[in-house]
């Protein structure tokens, strides 16, 4: 890896330090290539023929290039259904859940009411509880309610808000002076209006970032959909991708599986590239304060 001795550079870019920069850059570049190589291979193999992938001679460049697998995946009804279902889950959850989360965050950070700390601590404690504990009762509960053949088990819990978003937004609002609340009260502003006219605009940036992260979470979620949804009609995209893998791997249609996987990764990757700065910032905030 990197040269430990000279990790801390001085401000002056001497000849020596430039040399070190170059060495470090090359070392990091090699590391980065190792990191993305499997993904590059995934993309390349989606353009290969089955025979090339299964041949004894190892090669990474498709020969010949086959572009048909993508249109094959995109016209598969299972794939489109999976995509549709994932979006059906994501939209209401993000809109309603984003609203309830930001409303709670406002209340927790700016309003005074009895039981506030107890409720907040209760919510925080849920972040510690492993999903394994609640998944069995939730499964039985959803079965009894007749929800297991629908998308409701994935949608309804999300509508009530998301604890980590509440927590994040609440932290975010601590930098806003409390006196705004007092001033608004004097002006006869109602509490709900205070939320949407004053605090919602203040939270908007942070909320957007959190919603993007939440979307990525919903998009990539596999565990909950696979436990709660039995009906193929309502499989989400990740479950469909997995079922492609178990079904087509037997027929060794790896190019198809790889093309489907590429398509499953693409949206979150694009979101990440576009909103990189915000995503990294909010990741950093959650980790560094320790």
């Amino acid at each position: 890896m990197a040269n430990k001795k000279d990790l801390q550079s001085s401000e002056i870019k001497s000849k020596k330090s430039k040399m070190i920069d170059r060495i470090i850059f090359i070392a990091l570049l090699l590391g980065a290539i190792v990191m993305v190589f499997p993904l590059v291979y995934m993309v390349l193999s989606s353009f290969m023929t089955k025979n090339q992938i299964l041949s004894a001679n190892f090669s990474i460049i498709p020969d010949p290039w086959k572009f048909g697998k993508y249109s094959e995946v995109l016209t598969k009804p299972e794939f489109l259904r999976g995509l549709r279902n994932t979006l059906i889950v994501a939209l209401p959850v993000l809109i309603v859940g984003g609203f309830t989360s930001s409303l709670s965050a406002f209340s927790f950070s700016k309003l005074k009411f009895r039981g506030k700390n107890a409720i907040f601590l209760g919510l925080l404690a849920t972040m510690m509880i492993p999903f394994a504990v609640v998944m069995i009762p939730q499964y039985v509960m959803f079965t009894r309610m007749g929800w297991t053949n629908t998308l409701l088990p994935l949608i309804i819990p999300g509508l009530f808000g998301n604890v980590s978003i509440i927590f994040f937004l609440r932290q975010n609002l601590t930098s806003v002076p409390d006196s705004i609340v007092e001033a608004a009260k004097i002006d006869g502003c109602s509490y709900f209006k205070m939320y949407y006219a004053i605090f919602f605009p203040l939270m908007k940036g942070a909320l957007m970032t959190q919603l993007i992260l939440w979307f990525m979470g919903i998009w990539n979620d596999y565990l909950a959909p696979t436990i709660f949804i039995q009906n193929e009609e309502w499989f989400t995209l990740q479950v469909v991708i997995r079922s492609f893998n178990s079904y087509y791997a037997v027929n060794s249609d790896y190019p198809l599986i790889m093309a489907a996987s590429v398509l499953a990764i693409l949206p979150t990757l694009l979101l990440f590239f576009f909103f990189q700065r915000y995503i990294i910032e909010s990741m950093a905030v959650s980790g560094v304060k320790g």
Partner: protein, 308 residues
Amino acid sequence: MSGGNTKPVKKKMNKAEFKEHCWGLTFVAPAFIGFCIFMAFPIAFAFVASLTKWNGMNNMLDNFIGLANYTKLLTDAKFWKVLVNTIIYMVGIPIGMILGLLIAVAMNRKIRGIKVLRTLYYVPVVSSLVAVAILWMWVFNYDYGLLNSIVKLISGAHGPNWLGDEFWVKISMIIFMVWKGLGSSIILYLSGLQGIPRDYYEAAQIDGASGWNLFRYITVPLVSPVTFYLLITGLIGGFQVFVEVLVMVPTGGLNYSAATVVFYLYDKAFGSNQMGYGSAMAFLLAILIFIVTAINFKGQDKWVKTIE
């Protein structure tokens, strides 16, 4: 959704305060109600279930067996096996932290193009776990996989049976997990490093410290809050490893050598309808996580430094 204020009021609130109280409660009501329905109630339910021989269909309370599930777990060789597997996978946590810190330190220089590299390291983090697990399943394939092709290219000999061998399957999972999580350790360490004031280094340099000593006595202690965070979240997540095993080694591996606690739990609860036994396992897991986290928090004063 009233502001349900049924508790005895200690101090009389005036009208304005009462109004704020009601609105405050109303605004947090959705989160609170969701918490009660989808967390608090299931937790209580799971605890009661863990004391019964419940299969999801029969009457739970008629099958009350006390702590028998728990004592059975302690003598269940399979449970111990999956617990040991789960702990072995945690070897990936320090590996990821050390690599992450070294890379972050290397990246914490003003070099052109470093942002692009940072992004590349982060790509696996945002990629779907299922998709990349399928990908790595292919990378680890014994006959045609990428890894063995490379091994063959370099050494000429056939590589190990990554996912099919009791020993190598663990190495494979650790490699996969380190690969998947490395980007986020790098990002967190980078932001930790950026919080260290430059004068610390300059002062130490004046005192004659250099290179390794700067790293050892300034960098490492001052990023300890990040290390602590990564350790805690790594351990909590490490105890719950499941999807990667389910996708890459659906059978749990040769002689269950790849299975984790949650994998076994899932198998028991949904594969053979032993909901009571599964619940007991889930509770034991929660207790384990709680104990490990508590120990960590207790021990943090000894090594976690903060920048004043």
